[in-house]
Structures are given as structure tokens and as C-alpha cells.
């Protein structure tokens, strides 16, 4: 729709103004820091690309070219690995939303129950999960013991720590925000579409695939993009409270690495450089998503 400039300014002005001052300004400032060496107390010193070289650079070593910081790549891998839970959580949410959108006895009660895990957060719940995963006496391994299975060491083992965190975050996210978003989207689907399909004798699965899925695609698109953005920044709370990034860096994600580098090791410049790299990664993924997924989105 073509509108006069003043109307655009009226609708957009306040938001853009607030956004520029409170959101964009600190972000730009933090990105500038990426080219400085700053220990938080003394004056920042310009170091050019040193911070980036320290993170993703390569240097000649005895066995040819080597990454200057192999652990950064490891942490990037951890971050991506933890995001593998995303599709399951999105599909689970859509399934739950479809079920909870039906006429069902105690529907509002169920919606609330499934929503609860996402509002119960904080240190206590993380510690509880630590006990659930406790290898000798924890809830999960005790249950497995009844079936004669010796469970894994979960958070204490390098290869099981990440799956454990994925289970935990699936529990926390499957019934939460995404279900609410899907429920709101399902309201926008006209019942007549389903009725017409029923007249044609369509099976539930076909109705889902040909009506529900395309009609909620803008929401799926939103959830996917936000999920990727949050996924790249994820894993901080769990690492901060439960594992401190261990064992041997197995649960250190980029966001925890950035916190550690900036606030524990006092390399604020390097932390800023790392977050700029993170930013570029998310940007590329989001752009790809935008290019390829938006074709599937039905507006």
C-alpha cells in the first residue's frame, strides 16, 4: 500500500527512535570493541584484527597449518549440536497445539499444564535436573535399572552431556511459547476449509498436510527463525548453573564461552569479536532460511 511519508513516520517513528537509542547503540558500541583489547579496567587499546585471529585464525605449526584456537571450533560445534533438538521441539509443539485446539474436556487446564515448564525456570529447576541425571541414583538411571539397563553417566560423560541438555530443553520448550504461537495461528484457519475437505472425504493426515501445515507456515517460519537465533545464543543458563561448560568443554556453547572470556578472563575485546562471529553465523543461517524457507511460506 502506498501511503504518505508522514503516516509511515507516525507508525514507525517512535519504535525506530527507541530502537536506535536503546538497542542499536549498545550493539554498535560492543562491535567496535571487537577491534580493541580491553580488560574492563584500563583504557581499551586498538589491536586491529588480533582478536579475530585469536579465535578463528590459522597459524603455521609443526604439522602444517593449525587453528590458533581449536576450542572455539569445538564450542561452535557444541552450539550447533544442541540445536539438533529444534525440529523435534517444533514438531512436538505443533502436534500439541493441534490436540489442544480440539474440543476436549479440560482443554484450558491442559494448555496451562503444558505451558508451566516454560515459566518454571531458575536455579532450583536446573539443580533438580542435575539430580534427575545423577548417574548412580538419579531418576532416569533408577528407572532404567528396573529394566536391567545400566544408564549412561549423563552430565559427567563428554558424549552424553549434550543429549542430556537436549532432553532438558525439549521438556522446557515443547509446551511453551511455540504452542501458544501455534494456537494463535490455528485461530486464523477458517473452519470451512476443514468442512470442505471433510465433504471430499479427506483423512485427518491429508487435512493436516494440505490445510493446517500451509496455513500455519508463517508461524512455523517465525518459530524456526527465532529458534535458530536463540539456538545460536543458547546453552548459557545450563552451563552457568549445571555444568560450568564441562566436562572438558563438552557443554560449553558460544554464549557461555563469550561470558567466560569477557567476565571471567577479562578479554572484553575478544568476547566482542566472538559475538560478532556468532552474529555473522546467525546472519548467514537466517538469510539462507529467509531465501529458501520463505518460498514455502504461504501468506
Amino acid at each position: 500500500m502506498r501511503v504518505p511519508a508522514w503516516i509511515t513516520a507516525l507508525f514507525l517513528g517512535p519504535n525506530v527512535l527507541g530502537f536506535l537509542t536503546f538497542t542499536l547503540a549498545p550493539i554498535v558500541a560492543s562491535l567496535v570493541l571487537a577491534f580493541y583489547s580491553w580488560d574492563l579496567f584500563n583504557e581499551p587499546r586498538f589491536v586491529g584484527l588480533d582478536n579475530f585471529h585469536n579465535l578463528v585464525g590459522f597459524q603455521a605449526g609443526p604439522q602444517g597449518w593449525q587453528a590458533t584456537n581449536p576450542r572455539f571450533w569445538h564450542y561452535a560445534f557444541n552450539t550447533l549440536f544442541l540445536m539438533l533438538g529444534l525440529p523435534f521441539s517444533i514438531l512436538g509443539s505443533l502436534l500439541l497445539a493441534c490436540l489442544l485446539n480440539r474440543k476436549l474436556y479440560g482443554r484450558n487446564f491442559f494448555r496451562l499444564i503444558f505451558f508451566l515448564p516454560s515459566i518454571v525456570s531458575g536455579v532450583g529447576v536446573y539443580l533438580l535436573w542435575k539430580w534427575i541425571f545423577q548417574p548412580d541414583f538419579g531418576l532416569i538411571n533408577s528407572a532404567l535399572m528396573h529394566f536391567g539397563v545400566v544408564g549412561p553417566r549423563w552430565l559427567e560423560a563428554t558424549s552424553w552431556a549434550k543429549p542430556a541438555l537436549m532432553i532438558m530443553s525439549f521438556w522446557g520448550s515443547v509446551g511453551g511459547m511455540n504452542v501458544v504461537l501455534y494456537l494463535a495461528a490455528l485461530q486464523n484457519i477458517s473452519p470451512e476449509l476443514y468442512e470442505a475437505a471433510e465433504v471430499d472425504g479427506a483423512k485427518p493426515w491429508r487435512k493436516f498436510w494440505h490445510i493446517t501445515w500451509p496455513m500455519v507456515s508463517p508461524t512455523t517460519f517465525f518459530i524456526l527463525i527465532m529458534g535458530i537465533i536463540h539456538g545460536f545464543q543458547g546453552g548459557f543458563d545450563a552451563a552457568y548453573v549445571m555444568t560450568r561448560g564441562g566436562p572438558a568443554g563438552a557443554t560449553t556453547t558460544l554464549s557461555y564461552f563469550i561470558y567466560e572470556t569477557g567476565f571471567q578472563f577479562f578479554y572484553m575485546g575478544r568476547a566482542s569479536a566472538a559475538s560478532w562471529l556468532l552474529f555473522l553465523m546467525v546472519m548467514v543461517f537466517t538469510w539462507l532460511n529467509w531465501r529458501f524457507a520463505s518460498r514455502q511460506v504461504h501468506y
Binding site: T23, V123, I132, I258
Partner: protein, 304 residues
């Protein structure tokens, strides 16, 4: 159409009983999953009525200990004696009512502000045509990608230059202009069929009138969703208040609850009791927002 529908609704008894069976199965499935989901909440409830008093512990046995041995984690969920007085103690030990008020004030202000500011911007992004629109929008989106850890100090410096540290304003204003909210509402507005607006334009409506009379009335579920999210996010926000608030009487709940945390330990029963009380308003907001999600009453007859 209504006649056809009524005809279809008259089903033979066999189909109807099969459907009832399916529905019961589904219901049981949901109930089972639901109980699993609430386990940590029950644990919080159980812990909140436990005690740390050694004399009482001796009398009541190990069931009252806070982190029971995992093998009996189900049986020991609740103590032998429920110490409801913990809920009273919460109000005595810390200025809970004050923290509660601060949280409500901040979260409600941000929610109201965000719904207004973001819906207007989202409408502009989804419908108006102007230069740099998509670039500006992507810029909004891009800011979501920067982790908050590194913006913590610049934000603090910015706000302290304005003399805004240790004010409500520092918590409310920056949160209102949210890129997340703008993006979310834009997605919803994109999904609203344009036929309605075209009809309104023919009737001589301008963009402001369309926004008020077409878009907003149709966006109930979307605005309710944003409202729930925004309230929840600000209700739980710890990092923002942590950096921006110094005075005790301006602290919101997440920051105030830290009073039950010591350097190496915590007062678990009181911490859990306080957390449980703090969940209540979120539930209220959720139930209020829920009224907008009543299936199939809003857009019926619009599309097809």
C-alpha cells in the same frame, strides 16, 4: 451448508462410540504427558514446605530433607509434615510485597507499551511501501542475533550517561521497542487476508482507519500472544535489573529472590516458596490471554 453439516453430524452409533473411545485415549495420553511435565513443579511445591530445622528433621525423618536420594525421589517428593508457614516467612524475611509490586509495574508497563509500539511498527512493515523497508526490517532482526552478554557494559554506560541507572525507566523504556515483538506481529499481519483491506479502501478508509477497524480487531490472538510473551519475558528478566538497579526498593522479583541465595548455598524451602508465589501472576496473564484462543470463531467466512 448448515443443513449439510447437520446431516453429517447425525452419525451412526458405532462411529460415535469409536470416536468417544479415541477421544478418551487421547485424553489419557495428554494426562500422562501432563503429569510428567509437572513433575518439577511438584518438586518445587514439595521443597517449599520442607524444613531445615534439625530438631524437626530428626522428628520427621529424612523425607523432609531437601535433595532426597534419587531412588526415592518420587516417594520423598513431599515431606511428612507440610510447613506452610514458609509462605508466611517469605514475606517476613524479605520485602516481598515491594518486589512483587515492582515486577507487576514493570512487566505491565512494558507489555502495554510493547503492544502499542510494536503493532504500529509491524503494520507499517507488513503493509506500507517505502524505501529501505526490507533493509530496516532486517536490521531489526539482526539485533536479535547479538548475545546480551557483550551489550551489558555498553548498555550500562549508555544509561548511566543519561543518568538513568537505578530507575524504573531504565527497565521499561528499552524493553518496549522490541525487535522480537515487531517481527512476531509482522508475521501475523502478513497472514491476514488482504481482501478485507481492499474492501475498506473501496469504502474510502485511510491507513489509520484500516489499522483501527480491520487489522486490530482481527489481531486479538496475536496481540494476546505477544502480551503473554512480553509479560513473561519481563517477569523473569534477571540480567537487565541485575545491571541497571542498585536500590533495594526498585528491585523486581528475580533480583529480590536472590536474597535467599548465599555465596555457596541457598535457603531452598523459602526460595521455592517465593518462586511459586511469583508464578501466580504469569498464570493469571496466561488464562486472560487464553480467552482469545477459542477455536474457529474469529475468521470464519473470511477466507476460502
Amino acid at each position: 451448508m448448515p443443513l449439510e453439516r447437520r446431516l453429517r453430524d447425525i452419525k451412526d452409533p458405532l462411529t460415535r462410540s469409536r470416536e468417544a473411545g479415541k477421544r478418551t485415549l487421547l485424553w489419557l495420553f495428554l494426562l500422562l504427558v501432563g503429569i510428567t511435565m509437572t513433575y518439577p513443579l511438584l518438586w518445587m511445591l514439595g521443597t517449599s514446605v520442607k524444613t531445615t530445622d534439625p530438631a524437626l528433621l530428626l522428628a520427621e525423618g529424612s523425607r523432609s530433607s531437601i535433595f532426597p536420594v534419587g531412588g526415592s525421589i518420587l516417594q520423598d517428593l513431599f515431606p511428612a509434615v507440610w510447613h506452610w508457614e514458609n509462605y508466611r516467612l517469605v514475606f517476613q524475611e524479605i520485602p516481598y510485597a515491594r518486589y512483587f509490586f515492582n515486577s507487576v509495574f514493570i512487566a505491565l508497563s512494558v507489555t502495554v507499551g510493547q503492544i502499542v509500539a510494536c503493532s504500529m511498527a509491524a503494520y507499517a512493515f507488513s503493509r506500507f511501501e517505502f524505501r529501505w523497508r526490507d533493509k530496516l526490517f532486517f536490521c531489526y532482526l539482526a539485533t536479535l542475533m547479538v548475545p546480551s552478554t557483550v551489550t551489558l557494559i555498553p548498555t550500562f554506560i549508555l544509561l548511566s550517561r543519561f543518568g538513568l541507572i537505578d530507575t524504573y525507566f531504565a527497565l521499561i523504556a528499552p524493553a518496549i521497542f522490541s525487535a522480537y515483538g515487531t517481527f512476531m506481529l509482522r508475521q501475523f499481519f502478513m497472514g491476514i487476508p488482504r481482501e478485507l483491506e481492499e474492501a475498506a479502501v473501496i469504502d474510502g478508509c485511510g491507513p489509520i482507519a484500516i489499522f483501527r477497524h480491520v487489522i486490530l480487531p482481527l489481531s486479538g490472538p496475536a496481540l494476546a500472544t505477544l502480551g503473554i510473551f512480553c509479560f513473561l519475558a519481563n517477569w523473569q528478566n534477571l540480567l537487565g535489573p541485575l545491571v541497571k538497579i542498585n536500590s533495594d526498593n526498585l528491585k523486581p522479583l528475580p533480583l529480590g529472590l536472590l536474597n535467599f541465595v548465599d555465596l555457596n548455598t541457598a535457603n531452598w524451602p523459602l526460595l521455592m516458596a517465593a518462586s511459586l508465589i511469583s508464578i501466580a501472576p504469569v498464570i493469571v496473564i496466561f488464562l486472560l490471554g487464553q480467552r482469545f484462543f477459542v477455536s474457529g470463531v474469529r475468521l470464519g467466512g473470511v477466507k476460502g
